[in-house]
Symmetry: C2
Subunit: 192 residues, 2 copies
């Protein structure tokens, strides 16, 4: 199952078997059941997670108790409360499992150590962070510019598999529209 992880790294830098084993030694493997929390508001966020299998959502609860989805994460994606992870401050988000999930977690200390010891892993994480930045910019533009229908279609085009695995109410929260609005939306302009 670590194969997907190695494949992701090797899309950017190449590793020998020994090097990959060494990289893996900086991570801990964790299993969570559906509905279990991986990150909780107010707790430290000690790990950044790579998803080996399963599906998670990360979200905040606003003052009125309303949930706002920050991201989903399925196989091959990364997830953390990055503000908390990078600063050591308590998490302001929650992350829980929509499916049973298996994760590789790395502490900030271990990640810094790995990056310092292996220049090519520092390169890998820089490139991944750049990709992440671009994905978030795209999301901001989508939130600013698009109407609900356009946001819904864009989400489907980017991540079609989410639509099989995530309840519609959570997709609605992700694109910031009400469930009632979402029920009127269609994926294709030609669809009924």
């Amino acid at each position: 199952m670590e194969y997907t992880f190695r494949k992701q790294i090797e899309r950017i830098v190449s590793l020998t078997d020994t090097e990959f084993e060494y990289v893996l030694s900086f991570f801990v493997r964790k299993k969570y059941k559906r509905h279990q929390f991986v990150i909780q508001e107010g707790d430290p966020a000690n790990y950044e997670y790579f998803v080996l299998s399963g599906l998670l959502k990360s979200y905040i609860l606003d003052e009125g108790g309303k949930m706002h989805i920050l991201q989903f994460a399925m196989e091959d994606w990364w997830l953390s409360d990055y503000t908390a992870y990078l600063t050591g401050m308590p998490a302001t988000t929650f992350a829980d499992c929509l499916e049973n999930s298996e994760l590789l977690g790395i502490t900030k200390e271990n990640k810094d150590k790995l990056c310092s010891e292996m220049h090519k892993m520092e390169h890998f994480f820089r490139v991944k962070s750049n990709y992440g930045y671009v994905a978030l910019q795209r999301r901001i533009l989508s939130l600013l510019c698009n109407d609900a229908q356009a946001k819904y279609r864009q989400l489907f085009e980017l991540y079609p598999s989410l639509f099989q695995r995530v309840p519609k109410a959570l997709l609605a929260s992700y694109i910031g529209v009400s469930r009632e609005t979402l029920s009127r939306l269609t994926i294709s302009p030609d669809q009924d």
Copy 2:
């Protein structure tokens, strides 16, 4: 003026004078007048810019010709059309100068070369990218959760100096509210 640039780098890694000169040699210095374009939709985005002085805005024009501000950038900030810069595809955003500006620009090829030659610069750029990611996540949460008044106050708290330098109509565009709504907003709850 490059002092602010060196100071930013040295908050993360330390450099000798010779090393800093070497880093600088990867950048080109560019001067732009107020209203000049630095990035234009449809063109390649060949540079990532560090702002030595001045103030820029980056934005998209939607199909109806409405402007949506993606970011401002003043002294000590970075700016590019990152999707275009990283992929080589044409820019989908514009960036122009709100004030006369002096920039340091680095091509992707030069940045990759610099990072590959100097591990500590790869580390610097990884850390900066992480910070950038966190800032964008905060903005997404603000767009999803906050009403106009809360977004306006949050923007003021994060970047008070923007309020002296940026017209209110552009601040309205940045937080995604109409100019009419913005005119009713106050910075402090106690303010008239």
